[in-house]
Amino acid sequence: MKLPSLKEIGNEAKLLLIGIPVLIWTLVPIYHMFLFAISPKEDAFSGKLWPAHPTLNNFKIVFYQEHYFLRDFWIQFFNSVVIALSAGALTLMIATAAAFSISRLRVPGGRWVMNLALFTYFIPAAFLAVPMYRTMGNYGLLNNHWSLILAMVTIASPYAIWVLKQASDKLPVELDEAATMDGATTLQLFRLVYVPLMMPSLVAIGTYAILLAWNEYLYAFLLLSRDTEITLPVALGNFLAADDSPWELLMTTGFIYALPPAAIYYAFRRYMVGGLTAGAVKS
């Protein structure tokens, strides 16, 4: 009786020896950011684990736009929201239609389109950024939210189509046949059978596209430049341009900016883990 329990304690200790460093490694940059956000300016650099006078004043300054760097905070926040939601909705519409077409309607050349989409997915987005920037210039879309929305749709839809196609390949063909026998048109089939059945994957993909667009820095900073048009991450990057940038406000803004995606991620974790990670890499 005694020996296995000793061994168990040893095992547990070994696991803790891994777990604690992992926890510290994971949380340090985030906690550091949080610490700055709740510290008054003079406390922020003390190197203490908890500020002597924790305060929410930084949040107040950000929300009331009481600093030169933050004078357009709400507009930028709103820009981020609009761009993320538009990119999500547009990706969802385009990708669902394409996946339905390839997987259910077996459109001629569908396999080919799928491969093209996959090819785009594997081209690193940073490599496409330079030509994309010039292209948007040629289309006259620079400094227009549509440029970023369309760029995000371009980047998000290949993976979206692929995941949705994988998921819809699993739906039985008999379903379509039965609906068609009952006189359903193709559009009815799409609207009344396909979309409801695909809901979990659609939620996952919509979330994926929204997070992708919300988190995007490189394209946003290339394609948008006016202070009232940029998104939050670009505004955060602009803080760095000045030598005397107020770190505690930058970290507070960063914290506010990081909250929605983290919340969305945890709210939809069930869908994300099931819908995305399983599809991300097929062995």
């Binding site: 949380l27 340090v28 339905f100 940073a126 490599f127 496409l128 983290a262």
Partner: protein, 290 residues
Amino acid sequence: MAITLSGDHAIPSPPLSARLTTPQVWGIVMIAPYLLVFLAFVVYPVGYGLWLARHPASYVALYHDPIFARAAVNTLIFLLVGINLKMAIALFLSGFFAQQRSWIKWLSVLFILPWAVPSIPTILSVRFMLNPEWGVINQLIFKFTAEDGPNWLNDPSVALAMAIGVHIWKSLPFWTLILMTGRLAISHDLYEAAEVDGASWSQKFRYITWPSMQTLYITCTLLSMIWTLGDFNSVYLLTGGGPADLTHVLATLGIRYLRLDQLSLAMASIVCALPFVLPLVYFMMKRLSR
């Protein structure tokens, strides 16, 4: 939107639809929006970019630019060290997180945070931690040793190492999660049988875990290679390519040339990376389009 618009012309065109069934016509209509996006925002930019990069002179200029050579070497180091370290740790941690303990479940929920939060604020947070004067790390070093800490980001090799660290911090949770699903798919009976036969920990790994994870591990490594090549944020937001443009990687170099208004150089530097990227892309496509 696109569906109703194109629906009108789908009906009154008998010559085309004579050979196609109605669902197939709908199929074409429904795939058209993506094809439009693809043509306008992938085919055209890529073609235009290649056209901009057509002059041999750009490649000569790149060849003579020491920053390009440095960036190529940096990219290689970033890939070799970053990916192997990351995947090895992920493989190790996937075993840790596959343990059935409630506190490990909770830890795994927190562990995913770096992946779930956007990279800009966290990278800037690390950047501040490393600040030589005010950063918390050097403050602590001063507190305990009464000596000034190093100027972290001012030394190119340390700065690059830090960028690799940030990259690993950000993407480790994702790969750990993927490898963990691979691990959980291995039948538990195998381990029990091995246990009965008195197999050691390393033997179990060598004869059970690794053989069944091998393919997944290699696929992940290759995919991670492509994505790491495109990791702009880790380097750009931490070091900005500095000091003295010595920590650029290919992903940030293109943007640097763009900002210097050397568009053909920007494109040429990307074209130079294609011989390495395209085989990887081809391989991944073969894997995933099965």
